[in-house]
């Protein structure tokens, strides 16, 4: 038992942090927001120069063969800058294929995902009918769905790899509140799907990776919201003193830190439990997703409040954090749903 980062993990975290602080600037992110919500140069840099997109993928498929703790460090650093990247699609699709795909499917797609040459999105839907390899149905709220060349789509009956270019695939992009992760509707009309060997394992792995990814993003975003507000509290003067000297103000900052420290425990507990496949993994995942998302929403909301009027402007970055936080709260099961899963574990099913 040693709940601290190894030297290698610390190095990955610091490298990623430096990379995103330098490159995922407000200007570049806003430019991506005005198009499809992906900063292509950033994506190429992340996948190729940094070479970390495949951190959880085995080396034989071009990855680094590390674990969810290392991936969480990356997602945390990207989330801290609200980087406009298809991170959650990468996490979910690669883990789905890794957990449920055949060797051929893994060999065909994982190197492409890891190199960044194929952008992926992943979604589930109850509304799918399957006839042989032919799929008909609708998948809603697919993150970066309009930019993806590859979909991993699933339901209770299985999971499939569907290429965007396939006949019968239609994608509708939506104007989305969080412009760094626009949502799309993917409609299949007798579209060909390449069935994954173990659909249940694939979808489970996708969910787990997605939860860890957005929880880590939320942790990074919450910490950054606090850090930027702390900087503002030191420089902004009213009534002849730095506003951070007012107890009403600094106690709110303290409350942010109290939540963030718990979110940090939650995210790395979940990531570590995933790597160790420990028996408390489900509890850890539900705790991490719900707690980190709520922490981020609180901190981003406080960031606006504690900046006053400037925090409500389009020009200031506070709304980027605020909107990303809200999106994370809603996606992949909201907080009440995750807590109900925890309640079911300890109290049995609801009536």
């Amino acid at each position: 038992m040693e709940f601290v980062f190894t030297e290698e993990q610390q190095m990955i975290g610091e490298t990623a942090k430096g990379f995103f602080v330098e490159n995922a600037t407000s200007k570049r992110t806003r430019s991506a927001m005005a198009s499809d919500g992906i900063d292509r140069d950033l994506w190429t840099g992340f996948c190729q120069e940094l070479g970390l997109a495949g951190v959880t993928v085995p080396e034989v498929y071009g990855g680094a063969g590390l674990g969810q703790v290392e991936f969480a460090l990356l997602a945390e650093a990207a989330g801290a800058q609200v980087a406009a990247l298809p991170m959650v699609g990468l996490a979910m699709a690669s883990q789905a294929i890794l957990a449920g795909g055949t060797d051929a499917q893994k060999a065909a797609w994982l190197p492409e995902l890891v190199s960044g040459s194929v952008i992926a999105a992943c979604a589930g839907s109850a509304d799918v009918s399957v006839q042989g390899d032919s799929l008909t149905g609708t998948f809603e709220f697919v993150p970066h769905g309009a930019s993806a060349a590859l979909f991993v789509l699933g339901n209770d009956a299985g999971a499939w790899i569907v290429e965007r270019s396939t006949t019968g695939v239609e994608v509708t992009a939506h104007v989305t509140m969080d412009q760094t992760r626009p949502l799309a509707t993917v409609t299949l009309q007798n579209a060909h799907g390449d069935k994954l060997a173990d659909g249940a394992a694939a979808m489970r792995a996708a969910r787990e990776a997605g939860w860890i990814c957005v929880a880590a993003e939320a942790l990074g975003g919450a910490q950054e919201a606090l850090d930027r507000t702390v900087a503002y509290a030191k420089e902004r003067v009213q009534f002849g003193r730095a506003i951070g000297s007012f107890q009403a103000y600094k106690h709110r900052l303290a409350d942010m830190m109290i939540e963030i420290e718990q979110a940090r425990s939650a995210v790395y507990w979940a990531a570590c439990a995933a790597d160790e496949q420990s028996s408390d993994l489900p509890l850890a995942l539900h705790a991490a997703k719900s707690f980190a998302a709520d922490t981020y929403a609180k901190c981003a909301g406080d960031m606006i409040q504690l900046h006053g009027g400037i925090g409500f402007t389009w020009e200031h970055d506070a709304h980027l954090f605020f909107k990303r936080a809200r999106a994370i709260q809603s996606m992949l099961g909201n907080g009440n749903w995750h807590r109900e899963q925890v309640a079911s574990m300890i109290l049995g099913e609801a009536a």
Partner: protein, 392 residues
């Protein structure tokens, strides 16, 4: 980063559990499950000695002083199994977790020889004399005076909230040794024997009817000149060093006590049907998540060996657990309803959950109120300007 325990550690867990369960089923059956700190005090002193006889009284201490030099993981395991077995809290918590480590860090060899064997053996029970009526949140404003007269310190003044002073043998006292000094300067840290004419102890009855805390009066109380830890005037440094030990491994044992409380609440929710209420389910889930995050926060804090930076997990830990537990008390009463407002017997004594509801109001006060914690977090953790000092 690694969370699992090794096979050897799991074996150690079985050894702890076997011994503790054996004791709680056998010779010390009568103290199993006691949740207050004051009940059956004499038997619990015997329990301290039983722990010592089997080398379980201070496993984190060096072997030379009666400990086992236990690893962090072993200490975690022992603390968890201790509470899981329903063993009541340690009446010598302050001796083992605070006085001992303070002596090990700052004491002379002679002082270590004088005090550590007694603490390790469960023979010397310690209490803490820090707070005063005029020095609560502002601890550095203590007024209790100590003056050196010949080969003795003579102490006059009053301490308050001295937990378990009425069953303790020794008290450590932060006192003002430099006439006219203010704040953290001019303080000295003394070890004093309680059984003497100059020290008087009066219990303070709390809102739950129990009396764990006391007022302690010093009227020309005496201790030998060499009873000070550190140098004259270094009392604040020693006191702050001691408080840092408070966030040690014992927090994990404390958490297992919380686990027992939450388990009782879960059982009550099932029994009353509240477990079907979606709002109660959400609150129980939140409580469960909060407790787990406390555990992993403590693991982070204990695993951290880089003390060059502020440890956020450690800095926020007190307010986190205190607020969580206060919320737990409220949840308990919402679940058990009016049944929780009626005592079981004729005395004003409360079973675990109603007592939790009342007692937890102190958690957010003692050891630094939630408001003081927020000041500390904002100032030390986030670099915000310090609160101005008045001169009243």
């Amino acid at each position: 980063m690694k969370l699992g325990f090794s096979a050897a550690e799991e074996e150690f867990r079985r050894e702890c559990a076997d011994w503790l369960n054996g004791q709680m089923a056998g010779e010390f059956k009568d103290i199993k499950g006691i949740t207050t700190l004051t009940e059956k005090a004499e038997r619990r002193k015997e329990w301290e000695q039983q722990l010592a006889a089997h080398k379980w009284s201070c496993i984190g201490w060096p072997e030379a002083w009666g400990g086992r030099n236990a690893t962090l993981a072993q200490q975690v395991i022992f603390a968890e199994e201790y509470a899981r077995a329903g063993v009541p809290g340690r009446v010598n918590h302050i001796g083992v977790e605070l006085a001992g480590p303070t002596l090990l860090a700052f004491g002379t060899d002679e002082q270590k020889k004088r005090f550590l064997p007694g603490i390790a053996a469960g023979q010397t029970i310690f209490c803490q004399g820090f707070s005063e009526p005029g020095a609560g949140s502002d601890l550095a404003s203590v007024r209790t005076k100590a003056r050196l007269e010949g080969d003795e310190w003579v102490v006059n003044g009053q301490k308050i909230w001295t937990s378990l002073a009425h069953i303790s043998d020794w008290i450590f006292v932060v006192s003002r040794s430099e006439e006219g000094s203010k704040g953290p300067k001019g303080l000295t840290f003394l070890m004093m024997e309680i059984d003497q004419p100059g020290i008087e102890i009066r219990p303070i009855k709390q809102i739950n009817g129990d009396a764990e805390f006391n007022e302690t009066f010093f009227t020309d109380a005496k201790c030998p000149a060499d009873s000070l830890i550190g140098a004259v005037g270094e009392g604040w440094k020693i006191a702050m060093g001691l408080l840092a030990f408070e966030r040690g491994v014992s927090t994990l044992g404390q958490q297992m006590g919380f686990r027992n409380e939450l388990d009782d609440i879960i059982a009550a929710a099932k029994a009353t049907g509240a477990a079907k209420d979606p709002l109660i389910r959400q609150r129980i889930a939140k409580a469960e998540i909060g407790l787990q995050l406390m555990r992993y926060g403590a693991m982070r804090m204990l695993s951290n060996t880089d003390h060059s930076k502020i440890d956020g997990a450690a800095l926020t830990y007190k307010i986190q657990w205190a607020s969580w537990r206060r919320g737990l008390g409220e949840l308990a009463m919402d679940i058990i309803g009016q049944a929780g407002e009626v005592a079981e017997g004729d005395a004003y004594e409360w079973s675990m959950l109603p007592n939790l509801f009342l007692y937890s109001r102190s958690d957010t006060i003692y050891g630094g109120t939630n408001q003081i914690q927020r000041n500390l977090i904002a100032e030390r953790g986030l670099g915000m300007p310090r609160e101005p000092r008045g001169d009243v």
